[in-house]
C-alpha cells in the first residue's frame, strides 16, 4: 500500500502517502500533543517529538512621546534574545536613558555590571543598561540595544546608538543576572522623572 487515506466523517479525507522509492522508514509519533506553536522534529532515527520553533517576533512600535518609562511586558519565557530599537528618541531632560530587565515580580534596578562610552570618558553602570555616560539636552538618539540570554537568568547586553542632532555615538556592554525568568523590560532614565518627548521605540524578540 502506498497511501493511507482517512475519510472525514462528513466529507473529504486526509491522506498519508509514501514516496515512490520508499526505503524502509518508521516514524514514531510523540506521546503528547505538544504545546501551541511547537513543531515536530526527528531524532534522526525516526522518533518524532514536539519542540519549540525558532521564532523572530517583531513588536509594535510605541511612540516615545510621553511617560517617564516605557515597559514591554509579556515577553515569552522561550526568548533568548531581545533587540530594543530607538528611532529619534528624546527626553525633556539630561538624565541618561537606560534599560532595565524584570520578572513577574517587577523591574530590577540593581546588579547591572558594565561600561558605557561616547568617545569621552566611559562610565561604569550598575542601575540599568546605561546608554551613555552623559545625555546632553535635546539629544535625539537612534540605534539599538541587543540583550542576549547567557543562561540561568543571566543576560548580556551590547548597544550602539548615534545621535542625529549632533555628532555623538554611544556604545557599551554589560551583564545582569535576574532573580527569575525575564518577562519584561523597561526603558527609562536614571533620575526617573525626565519624560520621553519624541521618537518611537520597538522591540524584536527571538528564541
Amino acid at each position: 500500500m502506498s497511501k493511507l487515506r482517512l475519510t472525514g466523517s462528513t466529507s473529504g479525507f486526509t491522506e498519508l502517502t509514501a514516496p515512490a522509492v520508499a526505503g524502509s522508514n518508521t516514524l514514531t509519533l510523540p506521546t503528547s500533543n505538544g504545546t501551541a506553536d511547537q513543531a515536530l522534529i526527528t531524532n534522526g532515527s525516526g522518533t518524532l517529538s514536539f519542540a519549540n520553533r525558532v521564532q523572530m517576533v517583531q513588536g509594535t512600535a510605541v511612540a516615545s512621546t510621553s511617560g517617564t518609562s516605557i515597559d514591554f511586558t509579556g515577553i515569552p519565557s522561550y526568548v533568548k534574545r531581545i533587540t530594543v530599537m530607538f528611532d529619534g528618541v528624546s527626553t525633556n531632560g539630561t538624565s541618561i536613558v537606560l534599560i532595565r530587565l524584570g520578572t513577574s515580580s517587577g523591574v530590577e534596578a540593581t546588579g547591572y555590571k558594565g561600561t558605557t562610552g561616547d568617545g569621552g570618558t566611559p562610565d561604569l553602570y550598575s542601575t540599568g543598561f546605561s546608554s551613555s555616560p552623559g545625555f546632553p539636552a535635546a539629544s535625539i538618539v537612534n540605534g539599538q540595544f541587543v540583550i542576549s540570554s547567557f543562561g540561568s537568568n543571566t543576560w548580556a547586553e551590547s548597544h550602539l546608538l548615534g545621535r542625529s542632532d549632533s555628532v555623538q555615538i554611544m556604545f557599551g556592554g554589560g551583564i545582569k543576572t535576574l532573580s527569575g525568568t525575564l518577562d519584561r523590560i523597561r526603558i527609562t532614565t536614571v533620575n526617573g522623572t525626565d519624560t520621553f518627548d519624541a521618537g518611537t521605540i520597538n522591540i524584536m524578540y527571538e528564541g
Binding site: 513588536g59 514591554f72 569621552g120 533620575n191
Partner: protein, 64 residues
C-alpha cells in the same frame, strides 16, 4: 508621572499612573549633574582631527 506599558503578545498599550511608592522611590534617587554639550574642540577630537588639520582641510590660512 506616568508609564507606558505595552504587552508584546496582545499589543495592548496602557498608560499607568505611577503609585505613590514608585514616585517616592524615584524622588529618593540622587540627581546627577547635567552633562554639558561637547565643545567644538571636543567634537573635533572625537572625530580624530585637530584644529590645524581642520584648517588645512578647509584650505584656511592661519595667521599666528
Amino acid at each position: 508621572m506616568e508609564r507606558i506599558e505595552v504587552n508584546v503578545i496582545t499589543g495592548e498599550q496602557k498608560i499607568i499612573s505611577l503609585t505613590t511608592e514608585e514616585i517616592a522611590e524615584i524622588r529618593s534617587r540622587p540627581q546627577p549633574e547635567p552633562v554639558p554639550e561637547p565643545t567644538a574642540e571636543e567634537k573635533l577630537a572625537a572625530a580624530g582631527l585637530t584644529v590645524s588639520e581642520l584648517h588645512q582641510l578647509l584650505g584656511l590660512e592661519v595667521t599666528p
